[in-house]
């Protein structure tokens, strides 16, 4: 999705406090009148967030929420009323605010990406900071410091949770949607407990996690096998295995390339996904169920016909790749032979 010409048109803030039976929810009755500079700033934050961590999502038939209807009405309606729909979203999100979820603000933003109308739903938390103003007095310079408790959308902070929906004009796929979350922990439990994506937006990943995980694995391994250097090839495979079984709930091809591949291999690796459904820039939720056996064990095949099979830890501990003085690649296994047998 190209967000280059995305513009922010209107927006409204709704408070989402912690649930408290003693306190009544206060809805905002007016849209915020932002000038072009503020709209440009919010546009920058939305584009930056979606480009850094985006997951394509769809409305989940298993989890119907009012959000779906509100988003549809905002995208397809005349767009006159932003206040009532945003209040409805505020109530929905408030009902999910248990004691473990931080209070914050729901920002409902109407956007336009060239001709396409869009809606961004942002759950943001205010930060604290100070503003400094130097004053020149007769006794010299003095700084006046003001403590700001409602600091948001700063240059260094990212939006915390965002759901972005855009009308496509395509009957087969009328809405394209993305989710980005900067609070999602590194634990796999984090994805299950993602109240914003599942319970509030009523969405789920657009592609079957098991299918896209397997496709990413197969495409990656095919690419690794085009690399002439055996040591690099094996190292990349082991790194991919580690990433696939790690506790991090999401995987992004670009991030893997950046973290594990040498610079000269990264773009070729990225291009190897051109003919697949995998968007190297987008995250997907990992589900290694279809490649479980490949993750437990790695296999090396040699030109002689010899094969070496083992688990990842054994490869790390006992197998080294090197090149001898004549430039011939060597695979060295440092181990004790335990038994032999015919195959």
């Amino acid at each position: 999705m190209d967000l280059g010409l995305l513009t922010v048109e209107r927006f409204i803030f709704q408070e989402v406090p912690r649930q408290n039976p003693q306190v009544q929810l206060t809805p905002t009755e007016h849209e915020t009148e932002g000038d072009d500079a503020l709209k440009y700033h919010i546009r920058t934050k939305i584009v930056d967030s979606l480009n850094r961590r985006r997951l394509e999502i769809i409305f989940s038939p298993d989890r119907p929420t009012a959000t779906k209807d509100v988003v549809h009405s905002l995208l397809t309606g005349d767009g006159q009323d932003l206040i009532l729909p945003s209040q409805e979203l505020q109530r929905n999100l408030y009902t999910l605010q248990n004691g473990r979820i931080s209070p914050g603000l729901l920002v409902v933003v109407l956007t336009r990406n060239e001709a396409a109308p869009g809606v961004a739903l942002i759950k943001a938390e205010a930060d604290e900071g100070v503003s400094l103003r130097p004053d020149e007095t007769e006794h010299g310079r003095r700084y006046t410091v003001q403590h700001i408790k409602q600091l948001m959308f700063t240059e260094k902070t990212k939006l915390y949770k965002i759901g972005y929906f855009e009308a496509t004009g395509d009957e087969a796929k009328p809405i394209v949607a993305y989710h980005a979350d900067f609070q999602l922990g590194s634990s796999r439990a984090g994805i299950g407990a993602d109240y914003f994506l599942g319970s509030f937006l009523g969405c789920k990943p657009a592609v079957d996690p098991a299918q896209i995980t397997a496709q990413t694995w197969n495409t990656s391994v095919t690419y690794f096998n085009t690399i002439p250097d055996p040591e690099t090839k094996v190292q990349y495979l082991l790194d991919l295995q580690s990433e696939m079984i790690s506790n991090t709930p999401r995987f992004t091809v670009d991030d893997f390339a950046r973290t594990h591949l040498r610079p000269e291999h990264r773009d070729d690796f990225r291009r190897s996904f051109d003919t697949t459904d995998v968007d190297p820039a987008s995250s997907f939720v990992k589900d290694p169920s279809r490649i479980r056996s490949k993750l437990r064990r790695a296999r090396m095949e040699f030109r002689s016909g010899l094969s070496l099979v083992g688990d990842q830890e054994s490869f790390d501990a006992y197998v080294t790749q090197s090149v001898d003085d004549n430039g011939t690649p060597q695979t060295i296994i440092t181990d004790r032979l335990q038994s032999v047998g015919g195959v």
Partner: protein, 326 residues
């Protein structure tokens, strides 16, 4: 005397009535000329005007004209280009972009032995569909920067006919005029040398990018910033096996053709008070091309030598993904 003054008042009133239409004609012809010249990637400066009231009155008297229609330069557009070949190309463009009523090459009047102003003047019909402008004409002057300079000096200094000047002054005048001609020829020769430089050279890439930048409707930029960025980024284009610079330049050009509307819109947006002026640079087009084609190599090379935040700004402006910086 009274009749003379009456005629002046009459001419002024007559011109006041038509002047707004000629202002509109001049503006329209300039816009059309500018668009056509920009499409050909020729860098040019433009001026347009409707003749001012005093000049109109004086010309009517001086030439003994009886009708406004006899003054052919009531609307005027001037196109000033860097070199003589540019001037020739712009003249060809004018021939096809407008309905040309007449064309005058001022050098032809000079002959072989004379030196002086050598611009080309066209008289063209107004291209508007507007009924009130139809049939009005506009003069287009095409000249090099050196010819423009010469024209300005000659108007200020040599108000007399050169024939009436003493021999020594006439010789000085001719030397000055010859220098203008020599200057134009040297500019042409230098530009030819620049074009012959190998395509892998930074300069060739800078020239390509600045040409595309102009096609996107932009002109002002920081050349040192462009040179520094191109120095760092140019090797990415030829790092791939079998990738030669000339082929990559074609790819950049194709990328630009496909994304021209977006590039133009992004530049326009960043021009606003709240925008990011650093983005409005020719090398941004190269960075956006690289973000789409060589994301990781770009990021790696950039982080080694340039400010990361600038790359993030360029990626956000373009709406491209940049792997998260950790």
């Amino acid at each position: 005397m009274a009749a003379f003054r009456d005629r002046i008042q009459h001419l002024k009133a007559e011109y006041a009535e038509v002047a707004p239409r000629y202002r509109a004609v001049a503006k329209l012809v300039r816009q059309q000329a500018e668009a056509a010249v920009m499409d050909a990637q020729i860098k040019a400066l433009y001026e347009h005007r409707a003749k001012d009231e005093d000049s109109f009155v004086k010309k009517m008297f001086r030439k003994n004209y009886t009708s406004t229609d006899q003054v052919t330069d009531l609307a005027g557009v001037r196109i000033i280009v860097p070199s003589s070949p540019d001037s020739e190309n712009v003249c060809s463009i004018m021939d096809t972009a407008f309905q040309v009523a007449s064309r005058e090459d001022k050098s032809e009047g000079l002959g072989a032995a004379m030196m002086g102003y050598r611009g080309t003047h066209f008289l063209v019909g107004c291209p508007s569909e507007d009924e009130s402008l139809r049939g009005l004409q506009c003069e287009i002057q095409v000249r090099t920067r050196a010819e423009h300079l010469w024209s300005a000096y000659s108007h200020e200094l040599f108000y007399k006919s050169t024939a009436s000047l003493p021999m020594r002054t006439q010789r000085a005048f001719n030397r000055l005029a010859a220098m203008i001609e020599i200057f134009d020829e040297e500019v042409t020769r230098t530009m030819h040398y620049l074009e012959e430089l190998p395509k892998g050279d930074d300069l060739a890439l800078v020239r390509l990018l600045t040409g595309l930048f102009r096609q996107a409707g932009e002109s002002a930029f920081d050349p040192e910033m462009t040179q520094e960025s191109v120095r760092v980024l140019q090797p990415i284009l030829t790092a791939e096996p079998n990738a030669d610079a000339e082929m990559q330049h074609i790819r950049i050009q194709q990328f630009f053709e496909q994304k021209k509307a977006k590039v133009t819109s992004v530049f326009q947006r960043e021009h606003q008070d709240y925008g990011n002026p650093v983005v409005i640079q020719p090398e941004s087009i190269l960075v956006w091309f690289l973000l789409e084609e060589y994301l990781h190599t770009l990021e790696h090379e950039w982080d080694e030598q340039l400010d990361r935040e600038l790359l993030e700004d360029l990626a956000i402006a373009w709406g491209s993904r940049l792997p998260e910086f950790s």
